[in-house]
Each structure stands twice: as C-alpha cells, then as structure tokens.
C-alpha cells in the first residue's frame, strides 16, 4: 500500500478524462495503490494519521481498478466523482438498476460508442460496466456486493 506517484495519478486522470470526461479526478483526496492495480481513496488527514499506527490493513474506500488501457470505477468511486462524470453514462430505471446490482447483463436500445460506461439510477451512480460486441453491458459488480438471486 503506497500513495500513487504523480505520474500514476496523471495516468489515472488522463484515462478518466478520456473515458468519462472527468476533469479533475478525486480532487483533494489521497490515492493509494493497494495491489492488483486497485486504487483506494482517503482524506489526506487519514493518510497522515495512518503513518503513526501499526498493523494498518486498509485506508478509505476502493475507487478504481486499472485494466489494460482503461479504468474501471467501483460503485463508490463513481459516486465520489458524481456529476463530474460527463460522458458514457447510461441511465437505468429501478428494474434495470436491480438487474445491474445482480451483475446481470443489461440490454439498452442504443449501443454505447465506448467500451466502458458508468451506470446511473436517479442521482446515484452504480459504477462501471463493460460493453460487449452484442451491445449488452456487463456490470462490474464484486460478487459480495451483488443482490442475491433466489
């Protein structure tokens, strides 16, 4: 666990700008590389205090994962960015949002141009999804986070 270098932060910002139109990503927050190219965010004060503690396991929340040339936003990552996300947003109704949270593929009328999108339901952002060739969107929801199927 270590803070992102300025180069890594710039790389993340560039990808977020290209993929989602975000101008200044995670402004005022400390970003931490937490293994497997996963990025966590916390306040500066939290990071500074953590240096005084022993047996630190984790800081703040998981916000994004770098994958190939792209970046996948977690649910909380997309919620922190909120309306700074300007492009590649798909709007979901209640039924679709539930399906999204089950990680079921979502079929929408118009296939997005980008390979990655962010879902939004009302005012709430739901993280990234990957657009497949058949036009379906595959939500990137961690298994533990999914609404269980009965």
């Amino acid at each position: 666990m270590r803070p992102l270098t300025s180069g890594e932060r710039k790389l993340l910002e560039n990808r977020l700008k290209r993929q989602y139109g975000v101008e200044k990503a995670f402004r005022g927050l400390t970003l931490i590389m937490a293994g497997q190219r996963r990025i966590r965010a916390c306040t500066r004060e939290t990071y500074e205090l953590s240096k005084k503690l022993k047996k630190v396991q984790q800081l703040g929340v998981y916000v994004a994962k770098l994958r190939d040339e792209e970046v996948i936003l977690s649910i909380e990552g997309s919620q922190i960015l909120g309306d700074e996300i300007k492009s590649n947003i798909i709007e979901l109704d209640e039924h679709e949002a539930v399906e999204w949270m089950k990680a079921s593929p979502i079929k929408i009328k118009e296939k997005p141009k980008s390979r990655y999108v962010v879902a939004k339901h009302g005012k709430i952002y739901l993280g990234s999804g990957i657009v497949s060739r058949d036009g379906k969107i595959y939500p990137q929801i961690a298994k533990w986070r999914r609404i269980p199927e009965y």
């Binding site: 005084k52 503690l53 047996k55 998981y62």
Partner: protein, 306 residues
C-alpha cells in the same frame, strides 16, 4: 435455557425474568440507519416510501428508523448500494452516547462488523479520522465490506489485539468506543445457541478480556476525552464490575450520565452479591430486552479528567 442461566438471571436486581423470557421469544425489530454520506436523508426515505415500506424514527438515534412491519430490507437496492445500513435500534445507542463530532480522532477498538463504526463516521460528516480496529482478519472482511458500502473516506482499518494499542499510541484519541466481546445475553432472540451454551466460566473468561480492553482503551484516550464501554449482555461481571475496576485503578476516570431521549432503561447496579460498587455507576445504562422490545445493552460513559 439452562437452569444455571435462569438462576443467574433471577439474581440480577431489577430484572423481570418472565418479561425477559417473553422478549427472548420475540424476533428483534427490523431497523436501519440512513447513510447521509451518500444521499440526503429525505431522498432515501422517499425511495423507501415509494416501495411501500413503512417506518418510524428511532427516537434516541439520529438517522435511525424502525420498520413498522416484518420486511426483509437486506435485499433492497437501497441496502446493496449502501444508502441504508441495517442495525438494531438499541445497538445505535452506544454511538449516540459517544456523540462523535466532525474533526475528531476516534478509535473503535472492537469494530467488526462495522455497524457502530459506520455510525461514528456518519456523525463525523467526513471530517476527522476514524480508526477501526479488530483482532480478527476474518471479521475485518465484513468490516471492510461495510465501510466500502457506506463510502467512508476518513477511515483507517487496523488488525491487532486491542489490548496492545497503548504500546504504540497513548493519550491520542478524542473519543474511544469499546463495544466489547461479551456473552450476548441481550440478543438471545437472534441466537438461542447463546442461551444453550451459557456458562459462568465463559463470563469469567470474557470479563478478564473486557477489563484489559477497557484499560487499554482508557490509556489511548486524551485527557478530557470520552470513552464508551458497551456490551450486549446483562451479566454484572461483564458490565458494572468491569467499569468499577477501572474506577478503582484510575483516579482520572469519572462516570458521566447519558441522555438518550425515548430509550427506556434502568440505572446501573451498585451492589452485587457481597460487593458494593462506586455509587456513580448508577449513571450507567442497563437496557433490558423488554424495555424497548429490542436488544438488551449496557452502556457506560467514562470521561478522562484533565
């Protein structure tokens, strides 16, 4: 329930065994807290109303609500998105007694699975830092998941035996919560196994650990700071006796009254078997499961005098 346990409970002053057994038979109420770190409270409540869910406020807990009918909130979109957190209504009381403020540095020493940690973070409105500690890597997984779902940015998770905390950091925290591992007699309706496996030996073993945790937590507290010691059990050995031992050992520890509107409770026990405790223990809170037809708890508010 074993005869040993019945006999023990029957000895506790101001405890109505018949009512207690009735409370144990009832399911605990479904209650939740609205996560104001993600959406304004009213917007989340409106989402629930639109789904036909009826609820009423928990009078003693900010952002706390109790469902008015039997409903599984655990599979709702609101729960999975972290807009609400399922938590028993009385379980919200210790953090209200702690009364966290934005900008403070707060230690939750036995934090997993994170109900009270998320409540502390919510009341700090993202300002200051919460240190959430637990001894078990396994339990920290649940803590970590709940913190993620709640979206807390000002938090550090540590994994260690809470008793070791003062080795590394002393007189540092503005507030400390010790929601200690206990024999869980306040939540038997959730798990009858607790009543079946109860033994006085377990209580004795737990009380040693609880005292060590309390003493360690008190050492990490700043002068002038506030510590809450709470358990979800009813035995005197795990509650008043532990706090009394701290008062005996530390001149700078003082019990302060707790005000939580609408929460039915009774004063802490000051005499037990042949022992007399510090009279200020009457200011601690003993909450029976039948007081609010919910969980049973014990809460003590201790201040480190400057």
């Amino acid at each position: 329930m074993s005869d040993d346990l019945k006999n023990y409970l029957d000895m506790i002053p101001d405890l109505d065994l018949e009512l207690l057994l009735e409370a144990y038979e009832r399911p605990l109420p479904e209650a939740f807290r609205v996560n104001t770190l993600k959406l304004p409270e009213e917007e989340t409540l409106q989402r629930l109303r639109d789904k036909g869910i009826k609820f009423r406020p928990v009078p003693w807990a900010r952002h706390g609500y109790q469902a008015e009918e039997d409903i599984d909130l655990g599979t709702t979109l609101e729960h999975m998105l972290g807009l609400i957190y399922l938590q028993g209504p009385v379980s919200m009381a210790p953090v209200e007694a702690l009364d966290p403020k934005p900008g403070e540095i707060i230690l939750d020493m036995c934090a997993a699975p994170g109900s009270k940690t998320t409540q502390i973070a919510q009341l700090m409105s993202g300002e200051g830092v919460v240190v959430a500690n637990d001894i078990s890597y396994e339990r920290v997984k649940a803590l970590s998941s709940n913190i993620q779902k709640f979206g807390i940015l000002n938090i550090v998770i540590t994994v260690m035996d809470g008793r070791r905390f003062p080795r590394y950091i002393k007189e540092y925290f503005d507030r400390v919560l010790i929601d200690a591992p206990c024999s869980s007699l306040g939540i038997i309706s959730k798990d009858w196994g607790v009543a079946k496996s109860w033994s006085y030996n377990v209580v004795e073993r737990l009380s040693k650990l609880q005292l060590q945790l309390l003493k360690a937590g008190f050492e990490t507290l700043k002068p002038g700071g506030t510590l809450i010691y709470s358990t979800c059990t009813l035995t005197v050995e795990e509650n008043e006796m532990i706090v009394n031992k701290l008062l005996e050992e530390r001149d700078d520890a003082a019990i302060k009254p707790i005000t939580l509107p609408g929460l039915k409770h009774r004063p802490g026990v000051t005499e037990w078997r042949n022992m007399k405790f510090d009279p200020s223990l009457r200011y601690t809170m003993r909450i029976m499961p039948y007081d609010n037809w919910a969980e049973g708890f014990y809460i003590a508010r201790i201040v480190k005098e400057a």
